[in-house]
């Protein structure tokens, strides 16, 4: 490892330090599982390391890093090798992809589990908007900048994502009520 490389790793660590925890959590929230999110985060760090010499303004490092993270996420979705050979769209319609529940989530609460299931029902763009705005606390302008969308587009994605979440929860509530009302022998 050359001295240059060592200096670059140090520089990356210093720049990432202030928001590292939040960025890794975002990677987990945007992925199918915590393990998948951690892989995504590691891949983002490596990509950021490679591109660091091209970064001109360190003041924008945070958005630059998140942009890389979102790009890696989208590449993973598009470029998954097995997706090229399996009839993915037939097996799972958009927004209904299966979610892996690894040890991290298994340790989590029932509520977190339910949130993951609900977010998995959303199309990718709506899920990104909801995660970044509702969960991570980014402003509308920041979400627009990070996702490369206009502010009206982000608003629209948020509105639709929220609507879908509401519908999903309403269905869950109805299903629970039906189960509760059904005679004991007829319960699924």
């Amino acid at each position: 490892m050359t001295g240059n490389s060592e200096a670059r790793w140090r520089r990356l660590t210093d720049l990432l330090q202030p928001f590292h925890g939040q960025a890794q959590a975002t990677a987990r929230r945007l992925s199918r599982s915590i393990e998948d999110g951690d892989d995504l985060y590691q891949e983002t760090i490596l990509r950021a390391f490679d591109r660091l010499p091209a970064l001109r303004d360190e003041a924008h490092f945070r958005s630059w890093f998140y942009a890389i993270l979102l790009n890696r996420l989208r590449s993973r979705r598009k470029g998954a090798f097995w997706r090229r050979f399996l009839p993915w769209d037939e097996a799972f319609s958009a927004g209904n992809e299966p979610v892996a529940f690894d040890d991290g989530l298994a340790r989590g609460s029932r509520e977190a589990h339910r949130a993951v299931e609900a977010l998995a029902k959303l199309p990718d763009e709506q899920r990104e908007a909801i995660v970044l705005f509702e969960v991570d606390g980014f402003s509308l302008e920041e979400v627009a900048r990070l996702t490369g969308a206009s502010i009206p587009a982000v608003k629209s994605r948020l509105a639709r994502g929220r609507e879908r979440l509401r519908s999903h929860y309403e269905r869950l509530t109805r299903a629970s009520n039906e189960v509760a009302l059904a005679p004991r022998g007829e319960r699924p």
Partner: protein
């Protein structure tokens, strides 16, 4: 629908309490056990520095590499790996007669059949009360086997024999690459409302698309008649002698013209050693025949004219043939 519809500015906390609570729980789960920055960077460095050459290569290569490589390997395999396919090389004519007590008559019939079909030999088989005469007629002979065999059987019946005849194609299994198999080039042209120049241009264009750019094509049309002459360049490439047959299928308003009207298609193929083979397809009186005349380069105009005349007569396609300075003109009789 577009994403650009106007929406009220969203505020956090607008979601139902149940959803907010679940998202908050999830936020907590995903924020827990996050390794510190030094551990995360150290893991990434380890991954980078411990990368095998293959992993490094895959990382530096776009995801399309693997499917592209698989496609390339398959394409090469198609060109190189031999495949077996069948092609028709001729017709097998079987003439069945009720057994006769006169062996000499059988010999005579076999000889007559051989002569009529221009076959190299006739096999005689005896089964029960019938005797069968079997002859193989190669397609390259240009003899319309089914037509001649039917006429021959009719002639035998007139002589008092009970004859039945059957003709079946002879299929041979050939081995070559898929590329070689695909070298049969079929040119399809709809001649409706097209001038000779337009048909000529279309044929030349299709030949170019099929990888035969230097063909000389000439077309002349008359009432209910098209004459197409193609001079093809020598075959090249190492396809193991696989055929590079060029077939022209003419249609008029989508309807096949085979066997309709009087048509002559001449294809002169040059071999790398200078040898020339004339492929002739002649259509007249509801039938169409194809035959080859080899080594035309060694023939005088009169010899070539005689050779074509012989083929046409044998095929039952009378016509006027004229050969001048190697230029062949055939006018099928109407």
């Amino acid at each position: 629908m577009t994403d650009e519809r106007s929406h009220d500015t969203p505020h956090r906390g607008d979601l139902p309490a149940e959803i907010e609570r679940d998202l908050a729980q999830w936020r907590a789960v995903t924020s827990s056990d996050v390794p510190d920055i030094r551990t995360a960077v150290a893991r990434a460095r380890l991954e980078r520095e411990a990368g095998t050459p293959w992993r490094t290569f895959m990382r530096s290569t776009r995801p399309w590499f693997v499917p592209a490589a698989v496609t390339a390997v398959l394409a090469v395999a198609l060109l190189v790996v031999p495949v077996s396919y069948e092609h028709v090389t001729g017709d097998r004519v079987t003439l069945a007669l009720a057994k006769t007590q006169d062996p000499a008559a059988l010999v005579t019939i076999a000889q007559e059949m051989k002569s009529a079909l221009h076959a190299s030999g006739v096999r005689v088989e005896s089964r029960g009360t019938t005797v069968s005469f079997v002859a193989d007629v190669p397609r390259s002979s240009g003899v319309p086997a089914a037509h001649v065999a039917a006429a021959f059987a009719a002639a035998l019946e007139k002589r008092g024999y009970q004859a039945t005849v059957a003709t079946a194609p002879i299929r041979e299994k050939a081995t070559g690459s898929v590329y070689a198999f695909a070298r049969d080039v079929v040119i399809k042209v709809d001649v409706a409302d097209k001038s000779a120049a337009q048909i000529e241009s279309e044929i030349r264009s299709q030949l170019e698309n099929a990888g035969i750019p230097d063909a000389r094509v000439s077309v002349s049309t008359g009432s209910n008649q098209e004459k197409i002459t193609m001079e093809l360049p020598p075959r090249t490439g190492g396809s193991g002698g696989a055929p590079a047959n060029v077939k022209v299928a003419l249609t008029k308003n989508g309807e096949e013209l085979a066997g309709k009207g009087n048509r002559v298609l001449m294809t002169m193929e040059k071999a790398p050693d200078g040898g020339r083979t004339l492929h002739l397809t002649v259509g007249a009186e509801g039938q169409e025949q194809t035959f080859d005349i080899e080594h035309t380069e060694a023939m005088s105009d009169a010899q070539l004219e005689a050779a074509i005349g012989e083929k046409l007569r044998a095929a039952g396609l009378p016509g006027t043939i004229k050969v001048q300075d190697g230029h062949v003109t055939i006018e099928p009789s109407r």
